[in-house]
Amino acid sequence: MNAFEFMLRNWREVLALTGEHLLLVAVSTLIAVAVGLPLGLLLTRRAALKRPVLAVANILQTVPSLALFGFIIPLKYVGGIGWRAAVVALVLYALLPVIRNTVTGVEGVERSVREAALAMGMTDRQILRQVELPLAAPVILAGVRVATVISVGVATIAAAIGAGGLGTLIFRGLRQYDNRLILAGAIPAALLALAADAGIGLLESRVKARRRTAGAKRGAIARRFALAALVIVTLAGVGFALWNRSEKADVQVGSKDFTESIILAEIYAQGLEARGLVVERRYELGGNLAHDALAAGEVDVYPEYTGTSLMSILKHPPMTDARAVYELVKSDYASRFDVEVGPPLGFEDTFAVLVRSADARRLNLKTVSDIVPHAPRLRAGFGQDFMSRADGYEGFARAYDLQFNGRPREMDLSLSYRALAEGQVDVIAGNSTDGMIATLGLTQLEDDRHYFPPYEAVLLLRRDALERLPAAREVLQRLAGSISTEEMRRLNYEVDGNKRPAADVVREWRQSKGL
């Protein structure tokens, strides 16, 4: 199945995401024009403001998009996660070309024309509306065109903060090593960019043509046609996106941005749907966004791991007793976030220190302590998450007094599996439930010094949602202890290894369990 067959088979999702993408781009570009055009005009009237304002817009333009999203998330009123924050970021990016081209366009109006307008007794307003704006229009439109194309590109990153759009497919594809998914997101995004570029470019050339020849009738019709087509396409996309999300959801189910989290969220979501509830899925929230969204009430539930909660979210020191961790986390969530921690789902997803099975046999490695004497000859490669988190590399190396051959290579988690299998590194830290462990012939070393806290999988739920929806609690109870480590590995492998949709995999699993 190639990328096009994939798109055809999943046309509904691709179309819905394209619509979301279009909505993001259209709304943010409109706002950017609504803000940037008057601001640009003001700058042509207040020379002193020009340099500082353009400098700020320039700086905004150079902030990497993920970093900009990061800055926006904690802001009140404009920030948060999802759609609103994405629009704010996109507007900030689109502002510069709009402002700069407005200034350039207006200042480019010939001196003699401006002088004549003034001498004819036109007011400043009349000069602006009848002379400067029409003459600057092609340049301003060129700025809008650049802003739109930039927005189409940056909007793919918006998926990282849960704003949806075609980036959702691209990120999912990157995570699952699935080029079809990447292409299913990238191709429509590229087409959108080309269409926006061509559409606005056509408009621009019509505006220019009107000034060169008086025989503007034909141009006017074509221009009106282009404008109408642009409006219709945008409205259709926006309409589709709205229609697609118009169902009033009873409950918002979130997930983090990796396969296992999505599967667990989907298991719960399907359980709710089986009881007749309407579920809105807000999956693939990066970093700690899922927690932020839960705390802010933007999602009602998402899957988490007790150890992660303990250290990354609640900022406690490491603890080793699973029962104690669970109880502490439960009472903290209740008092600090009004969130209930569901019963453990039945498995742990801890960091798994992995080596190739051939090495394990040759060097007789069973525990992490066993590799300490060999470590100076071993190359390590760890995911960014493991390198930076409180219960990650630093403490791990200290706890075992590990000295690897050079500083560990920091790489994408899924890439590190490949690097290990292909012999580019010798030790990685994966996830114990990962389906890849078995398929790639890897051996997990026992954490004999109990450095890693217990990572029991649980669901976190907002109390107000549980009180509102009795079914939510029933489903929660049914799932207690229902998933073993082996089952979780198999489910993960179905999605990551066999490239099957999580929803299908979960549906079969529920049937097999008689749920």
């Binding site: 024309v113 307008a117 001498a119 004819m120 007794g121 029409p134 000034r211 060169r212 008086a214």
Partner: protein, 267 residues
Amino acid sequence: MTPEGNTVVHFRSVTYAPPGVSAPIIDALDLEVRRGETLVLLGESGCGKTTTLRLVNRLLEPTAGEVLVEGKDTRAWDAIELRRRTGYVIQDAGLFPHFNVGRNVGLVPVLEGWDESRVNARVEELLRLVGLDPEKFGARLPAELSGGQRQRVGVARALAADPPLLLMDEPFGALDPLTRAALQREFAALQKRLNKTVIFVTHDVREALLLGTRVALMSAGRIVLLDTPDAFLRSDEPHARAYRETLQLPGEVSAAVPGDGRAEGEP
């Protein structure tokens, strides 16, 4: 009639010296422009003649002294009202490139709120007046006109709302000699019919002598000579003499008097 009754524009020791400029551009200038005359400001580049013009319709304001238009200080005038009753023609016409000829000419009447049929009639009348067929030219854009045609449109636009006062800043300066001569001749004839008060800026002494009722010779922000063309030709003032000498062509015995030499350079 007030004492000012016959004076349309009155400069009273006007100085224009914007900050950051060492010497004043206009230096204690006194000048009365009479109703119905064509006063030509003649001088080399930078002598202050264009600045003088811009002080009349308040594109600039004097830093000392006062400019009276119809007896009223320009600073007391509403700038918009003053400009709408003052026609203005500049060297490269300054037509709006996105307006067709008709809209350019009808600009001030439209701003003044005339109804459409009155504007259209006025536009037609003016295009005929400046020698352009309204049928043929009304819908064209400035880019589709020759330099001479654009300048005719510029004149028509300046006359559109029938202003009593007309300011012209080297209106024919950028045209080729043949077209310039033709337009000068037509303008002289037009002025006889319309009897506007005109202040006309040029650095071309032939044009000054041909069109001016009086010629004001300017140098370094002052008027060094103000007299009729005939008196100008007889004057001993050094600048006037220098200009007169430029009129002598090789082989010519005496100074050409443009009044007689109208046909010069014409087809």
